[in-house]
């Protein structure tokens, strides 16, 4: 089922459809001329009885209705044929033709950077894995937002999560595809979507772990290792498909920056409670970046007294 329907069947575009409309047009024109003649005839014979007058009008009305009906049928048939030609989901069918073992293999491969960058690496143009990974990322993001009591002022929690993930996947893919076009890289849009989608696997793992275990240092380790590995893989594949040092630098630098920064953004924008928990957990050992005002009673009292005196003097 559906094996042959992915190909657009040009035999559908037979010429009878056009000519039937022309026939309809001619018919309609002829009907109009007949009506005009009859109208002139009626105007001349306006003194005739009402019955005959109504009879002729009734006959014309019936013909008119039949013509309109025929036109409607033909138009509907044309519209449904055009619809089934363009709005066919069979267009997407080849991109979902995968086996579970293939998906698993590709997921694992997305974490392993390739070594051979001298000849173009193969990218599977498949959309099932990336789509599922984006939805998984949405689910993980929702979990993180909820456990951190993130307050979304404009919009909803779900809408923000879906918008962020899909926006990143589609937007950054399109942007990198555009850059690839400028830098003469050999990659198609579907391949780019697939590559970036599988690159989100690292993001999923990192966020899944760090949204549940709240340690800053653990997040940074995961960010560098897991995020770095998946970015390296994408970069290596792109490098293998681009010629020229400047082009390679531009393309891969942009992709690496965007990919790593996105992970950083996802962690910090939607996980505000990390700070609070960290303070309670690491009480006696102060993290290096925290500045706590040390309260030395003697100094603070002296400061208070001199300030009071200064204020009293000025008043």
């Amino acid at each position: 089922q559906g094996g042959g329907s992915a190909v657009i069947d040009m035999e559908n575009m037979d010429d009878t459809s056009g000519s039937s409309f022309e026939d309809m047009g001619e018919m309609h024109q002829r009907m109009k001329e007949e009506e005009e003649e009859e109208a002139e005839g009626e105007a001349g014979a306006a003194e005739e009885e009402d019955g005959e007058f109504l009879g002729m009008k009734g006959l014309r009305g019936q013909l008119g209705r039949q013509v309109a009906d025929q036109m409607w049928q033909v138009g509907k048939r044309q519209a449904s044929r055009a619809f089934s030609l363009y709005a066919n989901i069979d267009i997407l069918r080849p991109y979902f033709d995968v086996e579970p073992v293939q998906v698993r293999a590709r997921l694992l491969e997305s974490m392993i950077p390739v070594k051979m960058i001298n000849f173009p690496q193969k990218i599977a143009g498949e959309l099932y894995g990336p789509l599922m990974l984006v939805f998984t990322l949405v689910a993980i993001l929702l979990h993180g937002m909820k456990t951190s009591d993130t307050i979304i002022r404009e919009g909803t929690l779900m809408g923000t999560a879906i918008g962020t993930c899909f926006g990143y996947w589609l937007g950054v893919s399109s942007f990198i595809y555009f850059l690839a076009y400028l830098c003469n890289a050999q990659i198609t849009m579907v391949q780019m979507l697939s590559l970036l989608g599988y690159g989100l696997f690292g993001h999923c793992i990192t966020l899944f772990v760090t949204y549940n275990i709240h340690f800053h240092s653990l997040f940074y380790i995961f960010w560098l290792s897991v995020g770095g590995l998946s970015t390296l893989r994408m970069v290596a594949v792109l490098v293998s498909r681009t010629v020229g040092h400047t082009q390679r630098l531009i393309l891969c630098g942009t992709l690496a920056a965007l990919h790593m920064l996105f992970l950083l953004y996802l962690h910090f924008a939607y996980h505000k409670v990390v700070e609070g928990i960290l303070d309670t957990l690491e009480g006696p050992n102060m993290p290096p970046f925290q500045r706590v005002a040390r309260d030395i009673p003697g100094v603070s009292n002296a400061v208070l007294n001199t300030t009071a005196k200064a204020v009293a003097l000025t008043l």
Partner: protein, 217 residues
């Protein structure tokens, strides 16, 4: 008009689709005798059909009743009741943390549509509305879980209640996924069942997550 009637379709176009007509059609155009029956009979017949499908979901056997005569009344009722029950969580307008009615509604229907499209693209033989029907009816265990959670939350909202809610929601989530898999997996090629089950798992996981994290004001 003989020449106009000759708009023929070529024989090479593959004909595909669902030819099955829902058994027991209730449309008055085809069965004139149902026009004259009292309204109570019509409503009771529809309610019985919906109730029978509920029973099929709670005890998932390999029957095709859910698939043969699909209807979307049950999913609508379940979706609306679930969305209403998830409403009381954010009465405070400043803290908009809970899902709105429209959000839940859209998530359920949009999620079901995506899963259906996915299963069709993977080579499934089930029709669009049949799949929507099955996915919608299998939300029933989760609606029951929501009811139980609300009752438990009335008693208190400590750790014990959280553990109870967690167990109930996980059990119902497993039940939903198993029920829908029992109906939908048969329509797939045998080696791709896992590819179809995963989105269903994710879909019910998101709904269960919404139920579990519901906290009334």
């Amino acid at each position: 008009f003989a020449g106009l009637a000759d708009v023929s379709i070529s024989e090479d176009i593959p004909v595909e689709g669902e030819i099955t007509v829902p058994v027991g059609s209730r449309s008055p155009d085809e069965d004139y005798s149902t026009l004259d029956e009292p309204v109570r009979d019509t409503i009771m017949r529809d309610l019985k059909a919906v109730g029978k499908k509920f029973v099929h979901v709670m005890y998932p056997k390999k029957s095709s009743a859910l698939l043969r005569d699909w209807d979307l009344w049950g999913p609508l009722v379940l979706c609306v009741s679930l969305a209403l029950m998830l409403q009381g969580g954010s009465a405070d307008s400043k803290d908009d943390g809970g899902p709105q009615f429209a959000e839940v509604f859209v998530i359920i229907w949009f999620g079901a549509v995506v899963i259906t499209l996915n299963s069709k693209l993977l080579g499934g033989t089930i029709s669009f509305f049949q799949s929507l029907c099955v996915l919608g009816y299998c939300v029933l265990p989760l609606t029951v879980a929501m009811l139980v959670c609300r009752l438990v939350l009335l008693a208190g909202s400590g750790t014990v209640s959280f553990v109870i809610r967690l167990i109930v929601v996980i059990a119902m989530f497993g039940w939903s996924t198993l029920a829908s898999t029992a109906f939908l997996a048969d329509s797939q090629p045998p080696n791709r069942k896992a590819l179809v089950v995963y989105p269903i798992f994710l879909f019910y996981f998101v709904i269960s997550w919404m139920i579990l994290t519901f906290t009334p004001q």
